[in-house]
Structures are given as C-alpha cells and as structure tokens.
Amino acid sequence: MTREEIIKPENLVYRRTPVLTDNIMHYCPGCGHGTIHRLIAEVIEEMGIQDKTIGISPVGCSVLAYNYFDVDFVEAAHGRAPACGTAIKRLNPDKYVFTYQGDGDLAAIGTAETIHACNRGENITMIFVNNAIYGMTGGQMAPTTLLGMKTATCPYGRTVEANGYPLKITELIAQLPGTYYVTRQAVFTPAHVRKCKKAIRQAFENQNLKKGVSFVEVVSNCNSNWKMTATKANQWLEENMLPFYPLGDLKTPEK
C-alpha cells in the first residue's frame, strides 16, 4: 500500500487537533506536559470554543504553553495565574478561562492566589500539573516533593525535620465551598489519558453552570529531573506518587 492509500479519511483514527499550533514543543521527550496540552486542546476543539477561550500560562516548564495553544493567552507572573484568571473571567464572563500551573507555581509561591480564587468560587477551570519537582529551574524541591525523594535542594532526600510534609493542595481546596469539581488524574497510560480527558472536558463544561472552580490535578512526571528514562519515570510515578496522591474525584457536582 502507498502512503496515500493508507492516509485516507476513512482510515483516520487520530489527528492532531488544530487547536494546537505547528510549533515544536520544547518539552523533554516523555514529559507529561505535552500530553496534557493535547487533551486540553482537543477538549477546546470538541466543544467548539476556540474563539471563546482565554488561557493563562504559569512560570514553570509550561511557561511557553502560549506558543502551543492556538487560543489567546496571557502569561502570568510566578504563581499569579489564579488572580489573572479571576480578573479575566469577571471582566469577560462569557469566555472560557483556564489556568495551567505546575506544583511550585500553584502550591508554593501562588498558594494564596490559589486558595482565594478557589474560595471565591471563581468560575474558571484550573489545571494543576503535579510532578513533585521544580522542572524548569533544574529539579529543586517542590511543595509536593515526596518524603525521601532526592532533588537538587534536598540532595539526601526530603525529610520532615528539614522540609516539612508534601502538600496535598488538592485535598485542601476540595474542602472549600467555592470549588465545584475537584479531581486527580494522570496521563501515564492510554487508559489514564482517556479518563483525564473526560475530566478536563467536564471541568470546561462546568463553566457554563457558573458554580465555581473546576480543578483538575494531573499527577505527572519529570523524567529529566527525576533522572530516569521516560519508561522508568512512569513506573516510579505509579509506584511512588500514586500511593500518596491517589487518583479519582475528590469532589463531584451533586447530580
């Protein structure tokens, strides 16, 4: 069969969504960020809201997310994306507004902005990519770094005495009445990818209801700074991250 014979519309099982640009992603091969971007973009395409969506990128490895999504984008200062999302949504209530943040961004420097946007019940979607490390700056300890885990700033492993406990910010914000939908997902297997996409879709659709924050944590990897191959990183994620950050819904809209 020739290439042309294979690539026929009726044979097409997958294509890149036009909501992603042609720009080559700078993410390390095996990194979860790219997959999560794709899921969000597919949801935007499927909902037909490309012209109504405003995204907010963080400071972290996904700082350049705006180069990959073909939607209008605002790059926030480190941790301030929920404050940005608050203003954009309140000033443009008919738009779909989402933030995309790492763990350092959302759960350390931006903790106040995160908690207060959630507590005010801002009608936005928050995507939280937890890779238990500061990816962009070269693998320092994050608020979500597991006990015993080695990073550039806890080279002998995180200890409670020196560094306190890993922060389960998702459990924390699920307690707030301003959050409407809170879930923890992952993207390290095709099955998880499909589930995660459903959750992201739900989180975007919820904006139509004006009931508060829809929050999707994605337990992800950082194979580069975890200093593992991509396959090993995903295995490590399953064995170490998931027991501490169990997947599933933490808060679902009452039916």
Binding site: I56, A77, G85, T86, I88, L91, K95, A112
Partner: protein, 359 residues
C-alpha cells in the same frame, strides 16, 4: 455634558472618577490612608450603573496581577493602595510595563520605611519615578495637588496609559487622599464595548476569531537579541513620552528671585509660604512638576536661569532634589528642605529654610 459640583475626599474622587470614566474593573486591598477608594466603590456599586467590576482581592500582589490580566484583555482596569501595598505591587508593575499593557495605579503615599506611619509622605518618589520593580521601565507619574486633580487625573492617566501602553500612576499622599474639597464631576461615560475593544486593540487577548492569529500577552523573550529589541522599542516610546507629555505649573514666577520646586501637598503648602514671603518683600515663586516622570527638566532649567536659588520642598529626606539638580545641571544653588516620617511642613518653617539655606 452636565457638570455637577460635589464635596468629596480625594480618595472618593478617585473612585467616583473611575466609575464615571467608564472604567471596567477595579481590584484593591484595604490600607490606610486610601481605603475610601474601595469603600466608596462598594457603596456606589457601579456594576449596576456602568457594569464596572469591583473586587476586594486577597492582597496587593493579587490586585496588581488582576489588573495585569484585565489589561491584557484590553479592559480599562486600575488599582489603588498606599506605600506598603505599592511595594508588593512592584512585581506586577514590572510585568505590566514589560508586556506593554495599559493600567492605572494610585498610590496614596504614607510615611515609611517599613510599616512606617499612616500619615502623609512623599517618600515614594524614588520608587515611583526611578523604577521600583526589576528591569528598565518607567511609570508615567502624575502628581495631583488637589481633590479636583485626583478626579481629573484618573481619566488623564488612562489616556496616557493607553496611548503609550504603559502603566500610569497617580502619586498622591495621605493629605490629598483625606482632605475634602469641591469637585466638578462629569456624567457617566459608557464603558467600551467588546466590539470596540477587539477592533481598537488588535493585541488584546479577547478570544481568537478564525480571522486572526492568536494573541499572546507576555513579557518573556528568551532570545537576548529579541529581548534587547523589545527594550529598545520600549525606550523609544519613553523618549516620545518625555518629549510630549511633560506637565508642570508655574506660580508667581514672573519676577521671582528664588524658586520653590514642589509637587502635590508640598506645592500647596509652598503657595502659603509664598504669600508669607512676599509680604516680607521676598520674591519667591513655585515651579510645580505635575508629571514627575517624565520630569519637566527642560522647563525647570529654563525657569532656573532667572533665579538666585532653588529650594526643593519635599515630604521626604531628599529625593526629587536629585532630579532638580540634574535638570539645572547644578548651575544654580539648589537645596532640599523636607519633613518626613509623616510630618507635614509648616509654611513658616519653609520660609525659615529658604532664608537659611538659599538666601
């Protein structure tokens, strides 16, 4: 347009002016001596009048980032605070300047450093006119000397902010924020429509129609050569601003042998000192910069040609005096007189200082 006369506090004038100027959003956090801005906005509830959004944020850090993001959508947005809160906003101001967004900030200055005092001060001159946050940027700085100017400068600040796509700041102080004066106020101006914003500000992040590329609001450019070019463009813009936007006022300068240089509250007090001085036959005038950046350097240099000495009167330990000396190239004696830490100079002590330091 129907004009109305109202008695109000400086802080209330800021709030009232914002509503009537068709501002889209105000984000703020309480701090003395400017809390009346947010309080007045909450009382007026402008969402019912013009659709203006008013939100009490969790911190000044959050408020300025709300302003950043609102501005990114081409909306007319603002915040206000007082010194310690403005210090927290420096990060956001730098981002707004870096992303070349229009926004208005009001600083009702109080005495510092640190928690300082809630009394009036002009000690934030350096922070406002020389930077404050990181990077090469400037804030277009307007210094009101009356409640009427508090009112008028909100609209002016938005005009300049949008013209130059740069933050503009109203540098007031606790005295002008708290004092009550008569103000001429305007009718309500409607807010800009979404269609108008999308058409007039093609850079704004408002949702990408199929007809154009996506808009990105960012201050990041990792390629140094490109980042330098961005900086060069920003500096070019500042040159134009320096040429075109200088504002100042000269009072009793025609026959003056001495000059007070003072802005805001200090300029008001100096006017009283001029009366006292002239009663004694001392010919002194006032040069009042209205824009502190761009500073009216050329104009001051010109004015200084005919005088024997200059006293820079400031409610700080000597900040604007540096710009006065730069402007006059030290060709004429220029000294600083200040009270600080929340102390307001008395017209008589300014006269004494003039005699002792300059005459």
């Amino acid at each position: 347009m129907a004009k109305e006369l109202k008695l109000m506090k400086g802080n209330e004038a800021i709030a009232e002016s914002a509503i009537r100027a068709g501002v889209d959003g105000y984000f703020g956090y309480p701090i003395t001596p400017q809390s009346e801005v947010l309080e007045h906005l909450m009382i007026e509830n402008p969402v019912e009048k013009t659709g203006m959004v008013v939100l009490q944020a969790e911190s000044e850090t959050a408020s300025i980032n709300m302003v950043y993001a609102g501005a990114a959508c081409g909306k007319k947005v603002m915040t206000s605070s007082s010194s310690p809160g403005i210090s927290l906003m420096q990060e956001g101001l730098s981002y707004i300047a870096g992303a070349e967004l229009p926004a208005v900030v009001v600083n009702v200055v109080r005495g510092g450093p640190g928690l300082g005092t809630i009394q009036p001060s002009q000690a934030d001159y350096f922070q406002t006119t020389k930077g404050g946050g990181h990077g090469d940027y400037r804030l277009i700085t307007l210094a009101p000397a009356s409640v009427q100017e508090m009112y008028d400068f909100v609209q002016l600040a938005f005009d300049l902010a949008f013209k130059y796509r740069n933050p503009a700041i109203i540098l007031s102080d606790g005295m002008i924020g708290q004092v009550m004066e008569k103000v001429v106020i305007d009718d309500y101006k409607p807010r800009w429509t979404d269609e108008y914003i999308a058409k007039t500000f093609p850079w704004a992040a408002v949702g990408k129609p199929a007809s154009r590329n996506h808009n990105i609001i960012t201050s990041l450019e990792l390629d140094s050569a490109k980042q330098e070019q961005i900086n060069i463009n920003i500096q070019k813009k500042y040159k134009v601003c320096e040429e075109k936007e200088v504002r100042y006022e000269m009072i009793n300068c025609e026959d003056a042998e001495y000059l007070f240089v003072a802005y805001g509250s200090s300029a008001r007090i100096c006017q009283k000192t001029i009366e006292l001085a002239r009663a004694e036959g001392i010919k002194v005038g006032l040069f009042r910069p209205i824009t502190l950046w761009p500073f009216p350097s050329k104009q001051l240099k010109e004015a200084a040609k005919n005088v024997k000495g200059i006293l820079s009167v400031e409610m700080n330990a000597g900040q604007m005096i540096e710009d006065v000396k730069l402007a006059t190239e030290c060709r004429v004696k220029a000294e600083h007189f200040g009270r600080y830490g929340g102390m307001i100079p008395d017209p008589n002590e300014i006269l004494v200082a003039l005699k002792k330091q300059i005459m």
